[in-house]
Symmetry: C2
Subunit: 430 residues, 2 copies
Amino acid sequence: MIEKESLHASLRDPLLDSMNFLNQVVLRYPDAISFAPGRPFEGFFGLEDIQDGLRAYLDHLAERGRTPEQVAAELFQYGPTAGSINDLVARHLEVEEDIHVPAEAVVITVGAQEAMLLAVRALFADPRDVLLVAAPSYVGITGAARLLDVPVHPVPWDDPNDLAAPLRAAVAEQRAAGRRVRAFYLVPDHANPTGHTLALPERHALLDAAAELDLLVIEDSPYRLFTAGRRLPTLKALDRGRRVLYVGSFAKSAFPGARLGYAVADQVVRDRAGQENLLAAELTKIKSMVTVNTPSLSQAVVGGLLLRNGFRLAEANERAIRHYAGNLERMLAALARHFPPGSRDRPGVSWNEPDGGFFLTLRVGFPVDAELLRRSAEEFEVIWTPMRSFEPGGDPCAMRLAYSYVTPDEIDEGVARLARLIASEAPEAD
Amino acid sequence: MIEKESLHASLRDPLLDSMNFLNQVVLRYPDAISFAPGRPFEGFFGLEDIQDGLRAYLDHLAERGRTPEQVAAELFQYGPTAGSINDLVARHLEVEEDIHVPAEAVVITVGAQEAMLLAVRALFADPRDVLLVAAPSYVGITGAARLLDVPVHPVPWDDPNDLAAPLRAAVAEQRAAGRRVRAFYLVPDHANPTGHTLALPERHALLDAAAELDLLVIEDSPYRLFTAGRRLPTLKALDRGRRVLYVGSFAKSAFPGARLGYAVADQVVRDRAGQENLLAAELTKIKSMVTVNTPSLSQAVVGGLLLRNGFRLAEANERAIRHYAGNLERMLAALARHFPPGSRDRPGVSWNEPDGGFFLTLRVGFPVDAELLRRSAEEFEVIWTPMRSFEPGGDPCAMRLAYSYVTPDEIDEGVARLARLIASEAPEAD
């Protein structure tokens, strides 16, 4: 018998507990329409995609002169800790994202989650070191920090185009308290959980602030491929001072089951003897103690996907991009139908209008908590996520609606159910 | 520019640095015969093994009533954090290892390395908590602990059949210093790096000691399939008090590129409210913040391998088992030839005689360090690993010889070169 109190504190963290609770609600009410999981839609995937990707990658190795035995060994054996397809990922970043980094600056990881864990582990060394996050924030970064006992402080990101100023204020506050801010994490495109996107001038302002404050920016952008119009440049593409550590994910642009992500860390690290190394090499040393190396099959299938599509994932994802854009439009239309401008103000219902991604923020005129969620699932058969699950100090009246995994018809029906829940909680005679 | 001094202490750890140094030596002298890497032999693997495994697993899902869409989704989508093939692994443990645990006690991980990281993270919560390891120890467990700032103390495992007594002494010493010993890690079969195997009576003695001292035992046994004669039962199979957390690996019994491992953690955890959970469920929560879930393709291929072989890996590995046993015999014969009993004593050369696995310990009459290794690689074209790379306080005159990845002819030639190195360092007129 082990007393839970004796286990690591992260296992008693309310944030992680609340994520477990949400998963249980989804499992317990399988017939409810769920706007909870930010999962990609799986309808465009077939087993042949795996075969095709694998074949393209193995052909590529053969074309580069590898013997059949060497090709088999690349799948069989322990691989380089930093990864095997780093050159293909660097080429993809160049061709599609205008990010120019050498393959040595790329570390292939088991999902973006491992990349975040490596970054937090490398950068945080002292009890005074703190991580700032644009809040409400993706739970994965907070979780990685909790595991490593790294303190996380929120930078409120309420107005999508006002982030540099709150960042400066948060840094000043931490420094006044004697702490060292090592890095600032954000999802600049169609953020999880809010759906916020940072406009171009604010991207420049953020990079300027990071340079002045001498901070690293951890940029995580798994949804940016799914932009209805033109994509903005990543912070990394705008980065002239190697201020940005870019976290990449193939979970949405290839498939989540591959668990393939990467870190781009082209920062120079200098030791006392004056020897220089890229930060990517330091992340690689840490990776050797987390997962040793990333599974060869996942790398091969994703490498093949890149090769088959001329390193451009937007083309490979044409149908998916249209699908998510269509779902977003459908959800915005359904919300507008149920809460027309006149009625909208009364119960205090409002929402943002992202131009892509998987999520939006819906605000209602009353607090939405775990108990209301349970009742929503049971009585109204619709599931959503309280925004406070992501940020305990956040807006108590906001919820995250994910529209990525549902069908258009489910969106219509789900929003209708949500409207009935809201009416039952905030009658018009409010 | 980042000062290396500001990064996490594990990145300046001499243990991890020395591992990097070793890897560089192997890369810098590609023509040397290398007894360094503990890699499995890759000659028995073909790409069709991946296809066959995948097909067997997909057929299994179809037989269990899944539609083609559901089968495709299992490969495509995010999967359960604890894993998808837990029932197959539990059945394998029952059929082949006489370990009887429910599938819920199994967490599928990205290699045994992730399983170790999860175990260390869950169990270590307080600065007074320490981990004991049978020393010299596998570097992966020490590395995982270093990443998490968990202190590691060695329990000298010099005589293969005397471990319970040194463990009791080490625990007494730690307790006298006000520390809490949470767990003891060992590789009981053909240990990495020594080649030691714990005999059956000493296995019982170790479990008795763990019960009396109220410790968990972390058992890691990746080489046990490769036993020349009859395998001894695992500690977990003998465990009647749920004292053993078993770390499993498919890196040698399937293939390293899959990066597939698991933890068996059937310990009961009780919280303050009296609610009970398996430790496996707590490890799963931590895993959600490390890699989210284990790649689906790796699970499918290994799941298929288990299904195709009636859950018995010994049968699937018949040729590999013979190969490693043959290499071991060849290396012992080569050592006996170059250091016959009469001459053996003079230069102080001795070695152990494991009955399986990938490694043995060679002791010489002089210290073997990094500088000698460099000279050995350059002048004698043979590479080995100083035992002190694994345990800084260990025997300065011992080296690890790995015979898993080399051919029988390379063993003969490599031992001849080693004999020339030894003769040059310790001439007979010693």
